[in-house]
């Protein structure tokens, strides 16, 4: 574990998401009124403004919307990890999230490729959802 690495600090809105990652389950909020799934966590639906929602597990499957290969240690705490692939992942259920593509060479990553979630534990409470080729 790299202790210098910036860690998410779960708050009122996000703690269920991060608890899910710790339990190796990707969870999104589903609006109780219009049933739209959303990510980043928030207490109000951006489609209908309902404040009623439930957390629901999603498949963790998706496609690469786009990506970039970080080849330079722009962030000092990630310098030893370059090169790595940052990507925007469109989940099958709709929401999009920033993540990393692991489990293949950067040169193998393509827009549109199918990926699935996997979790990397960074410490006792935080696991990050990464994605790998499906």
């Amino acid at each position: 574990m790299n202790t210098k690495r910036p860690l998410p600090r779960p708050d009122e809105d996000s703690e269920v998401f991060w608890e899910g990652c710790r339990a190796e389950e990707l969870r999104m909020q589903e609006c109780s009124e219009c049933h739209t799934l959303r990510f980043r966590p928030r207490p109000v639906c951006p489609e209908c403004l309902s404040d009623q929602f439930k957390w629901t597990p999603v498949s963790g499957k998706g496609r690469v919307y786009t990506f970039g290969v970080v080849r330079s240690g722009v962030l000092p705490s990630f310098r030893e990890e370059v090169p790595y692939v940052l990507a925007l992942i469109d989940l099958e259920e709709g929401p999009r999230m920033t993540s990393r593509i692991v489990g293949c060479e950067p040169e193998a990553v393509e827009i549109g490729m199918s990926v699935r979630v996997l979790f990397e534990a960074l410490d006792d409470t935080i696991s990050l959802p990464y994605f790998c080729p499906q």
């Binding site: 910036p6 998410p8 786009t66 970039g68 290969v69 080849r71 330079s72 940052l86």
Partner: protein, 384 residues
């Protein structure tokens, strides 16, 4: 707006490494130069806008007070790289509403020398930092690199397009005495430049700079009594599509310009072919390409052709960033795009080799965050 408004004064400080001036000092120097350029008494200024620029509590009033100004209207604005262009619009709206008569708009930054903040301090906060940075997301460069990658995928845009943009900005900066990077750049230099976040090389990225700029907005009536020819704000628009590019509705291949641009052209009663010079926000090369498309200077997907063969250089079909832009003049967050647009239209205020002959209309853009904010100004020598 009911009234007609103009920019009547502009000021610019040295750009690049300016170790002897503090950030607030640079803001004051730019303001002083803009006020002198307008030929005004600074006590006549009754509106002050500043960018947030990492400043302290009620920062716009701190700057006003240090200048000896007690404003009827002041506020801080924070729209990233769109701030300066949007400050001009905020100034017009404030005057139009009767809150004040003359607004001084300032942006300064100190990122090259002097005290600097740490890049990040864990643990991190919500937003960008909670759902992006823990993955090793380095910020703006990765956002724009991913957008460029998507554009390349959808339209077949080649890397050389980005190199052509970088070279054009450098060529213009080489003609600008107040530019941070004036040495020539060839396409070979571009290819040899190291990857930072692929598909971006180091030469796709803007400079890191000290510097400041300022401009003054007032009514067309008031402008007529001042020292320099007024440069009218003939068109304006803003569109802010998302805070995070990871929002599922964000379109990485299109900027807010696709809305703010048509709004600005409609208000000005002109079309893209009427523009003589464009000062386009250029934090990364790709953004210029997308702006050329989203403003309608060419069709979507044809930006790579548009930037070939010197077409965006002085003497080409649409000179872009005649000061060298953020890519080569220096990064003063778009403020100097406004200053340069005004100077080009006044005529005779920049080095003769980088003057667009007879320029009458300029488009100036600002763009901020994760392709989040966008603002447009159409400036004109002729009263609308």
């Amino acid at each position: 707006m009911n009234g007609t408004y103009a920019i009547v004064g502009v000021g610019e400080t040295p750009v690049g490494k300016v170790p002897e001036w503090s950030k607030t000092g640079l803001a004051l120097l730019a303001a002083k130069r803009a006020i002198e350029d307008a030929g005004m008494n600074h006590k006549e200024i009754d509106g002050v806008l500043t960018s947030q620029m990492g400043g302290t509590f009620i920062y716009s009033l701190e700057v006003a007070t240090l200048l000896g100004i007690q404003p009827r209207y002041t506020t801080v604005m924070e729209l990233g790289g769109a701030t300066s262009v949007c400050m001009a619009q905020q100034a017009m709206a404030a005057i139009d509403a009767g809150l004040c008569e003359t607004v001084l708009c300032i942006h300064a930054q100190k990122q090259q020398t002097g005290p600097t903040r740490p890049r990040h301090t864990p643990p991190v906060d919500r937003g960008f930092d909670e759902f992006d940075r823990p993955f090793g997301h380095p910020g703006a460069i990765a956002v724009h690199a991913m957008a460029a990658q998507r554009h390349m995928y959808e339209y077949g845009t080649p890397n050389v397009a980005f190199g052509n943009i970088a070279m054009a900005m450098r060529k213009h900066a080489s003609l600008n005495a107040n530019a941070q990077r004036r040495e020539p750049m060839t396409l070979d230099d571009y290819w040899a430049s190291r990857w930072v976040v692929e598909p971006f090389r180091l030469l796709d990225c803007c400079q890191v700079s000290d510097g400041a700029g300022a401009f003054i907005v007032t009514s067309a009536d008031r402008a007529k009594d001042l020292r320099k020819a007024p440069i009218y704000i003939a068109g304006y628009g803003q569109f802010h599509p998302h805070r995070f590019i990871s929002d599922q509705h964000a379109d990485a291949t299109r900027l807010g310009a696709h809305i703010s641009g048509p709004d600005a052209f409609r208000r000005a009663g002109i079309t893209p072919k009427d523009i003589d010079v464009a000062e386009l926000y250029d934090c990364f090369t790709y953004v210029v390409l997308s702006e050329l498309e989203d403003y309608g200077f060419c069709e979507k997907g044809e930006g790579a052709e548009f930037v070939q063969d010197g077409q965006i250089e002085i003497g080409g079909r649409l000179p872009v960033n005649t000061h060298g832009g953020l890519l080569s003049q220096g990064h003063v967050e778009g403020m100097l795009h406004v200053v340069e647009g005004v100077r080009q239209l006044r005529g005779g205020e920049v080095e003769p080799k980088r003057q667009v002959p007879g320029a009458r209309r300029a488009l100036v853009s600002g763009h901020g965050g994760q392709m989040s904010t966008h603002g447009t100004l159409i400036l004109s020598r002729d009263e609308p």
